[in-house]
């Protein structure tokens, strides 16, 4: 978002309409903000009423410039309106149901939000302008409620209407992802996967839809899962190669090193999928030179070298990353370091590294501390005994 959306000159007109705050949720100093405003996925945008610090509107995930402008318009209205009234009132039309859903969504009551968004869709006219936003937020609310079956139906219904909009990336990939998660005994499974796989293919091929490159990249990731699910090794290889070409073209066309580095994590993933992690080394070395204070390039180099079984270089890169890392991401890099040591045959070193990760996890402040993460690190540590 920083490299591609927030820098867009057309947003300058919005500058004086809000006070703008960026919070790096990994920084310990921001833990109290995260405790106050819990985040479910990154990025998340909140519009807050400064009078009472109430979240008036929440948007989860990236957005195009056009989507962001609509989010800002709705955010202003949500601050000006009365959320309590919106929640209490029975919806009589799509907009009332939408406002009620938005109030629940802002408050992270995803179950109630999902029901109200569905009600809004049911009450909406065919040309209702909030349709796309409603579908995207509904799909996220359903994901939080682990309701993949309903997601498939919502996505299936939305495909024809959102085909020519940026929302098609979310709709096609969520539908396909949920279809892949359906049980093998589901008689409609194969047909549903085929429907969404076709939609996802059409979405990434449709260059007339302006969307963020990383959203398009995310669709490739699910398409790859679909070919793997079908045990189609050649097809998976073809998708991976196409995905890599797409990312390389996007990176090559980037105006700044920051914009180019946006694609590094996806490129590393696809090169690993292709069994060619060495292809990531030059770009990551360049990123480490360009951003010497950023832990991401050495952390990714550690992963790439680990895949290449070049343990000493992997360990050195992990240590460089650990020296720069902070917050919850430090735990993941320590986890990578432990895997490298274990692969090298240094069980005592791996144990010591995981013990350090456990201590760091337990020492996180409220807002960053995660019982689930602590349990996972402890389990890995106990697994070494």
């Amino acid at each position: 978002m920083k490299a591609f959306v927030f820098t867009d000159e057309s947003l300058r007109a919005e500058a004086g309409r809000f006070v703008w705050l960026a919070i790096d949720t990994d920084k310990e100093q921001n833990a109290p903000v995260q405790a106050k405003y819990p985040i479910d996925a990154w990025p998340t945008f909140l519009v807050v009423d400064p009078k009472d610090e109430r979240v008036a509107m929440r948007w989860v995930g990236g957005a195009t410039v056009g989507q962001l402008k609509k989010i800002l318009d709705d955010g202003r209205l949500a601050v000006a309106g009365s959320p309590q009234g919106a929640v209490a009132a029975a919806p009589i039309d799509a907009d009332s149901a939408f406002n009620r859903a938005e109030a629940h969504y802002a408050a992270r009551d995803f179950g109630a939000a999902g029901k109200a968004y569905q009600e809004a869709l049911r009450l909406s006219a065919p040309d209702w302008p909030r349709y796309a936003r409603t579908v995207e937020s509904l799909l996220f609310a359903l994901a939080r409620a682990d309701d993949c079956a309903t997601s498939v139906e919502v996505a299936r219904g939305a495909l024809p209407r959102l085909r020519e909009t940026p929302s098609i990336m979310t709709v096609a990939s969520t539908g396909l992802s949920c279809a892949l998660a359906s049980p093998a005994t589901d008689p409609a499974r194969v047909e549903t996967i085929a429907l969404f796989e076709k939609a996802a293919r059409e979405a990434i091929a449709n260059r007339s839809v302006r969307t963020a490159a990383d959203d398009r990249s995310g669709v490739y990731a699910v398409l790859l899962d679909a070919r793997k699910d079908a045990k189609d090794e050649a097809g998976a290889g073809k998708v991976a190669a196409e995905w890599a070409r797409f990312l390389e073209d996007e990176a090559a066309g980037s105006a700044t090193p920051e914009a180019r580095a946006v694609f590094d994590s996806h490129r590393l993933s696809v090169y690993i999928e292709m069994g060619e992690p060495q292809r990531a080394i030059p770009m990551l070395q360049a990123a480490e030179r360009d951003f010497p204070k950023d832990y991401n390039p050495p952390a990714r180099l550690a992963v790439a070298y680990k895949e290449m079984k070049r343990w000493d270089e992997a360990l050195a890169a992990a240590d460089r990353a650990i020296a720069l890392a902070y917050g919850p991401r430090l735990l993941r890099i320590l986890g990578t370091r432990a895997e490298i040591l274990l692969a090298k045959g240094d069980k005592a070193g791996a144990r010591a590294t995981l013990a350090k990760a456990l201590a760091a996890a337990e020492g996180m402040p409220p807002g960053q501390r995660s019982d689930r993460t602590i349990a996972a690190v402890r389990k890995r540590l106990e697994g070494l005994d």
């Binding site: 978002m1 500058a15 809000f18 705050l21 960026a22 919070i23 790096d24 990154w42 519009v47």
Partner: protein, 50 residues
């Protein structure tokens, strides 16, 4: 907040406003104070560097 403090706050923010969107980085208290002083909604981008 006093008028003097408000003016000082706005002056402190002035250089950042050259950007398309003048984000305040990692300072909730300062952003909230400015939003209250200017009677504007607060937009928060929660992100992580990975």
């Amino acid at each position: 907040m006093s008028m003097l403090a408000t003016v000082a706050l706005l002056l402190a923010l002035a250089p950042a406003q050259k950007a398309a969107l003048p984000f305040i980085e990692d300072d909730y208290g300062r952003a909230l104070a400015e939003a209250r002083a200017r009677n504007l909604p607060l937009f928060i981008e929660a992100w992580a560097p990975w």
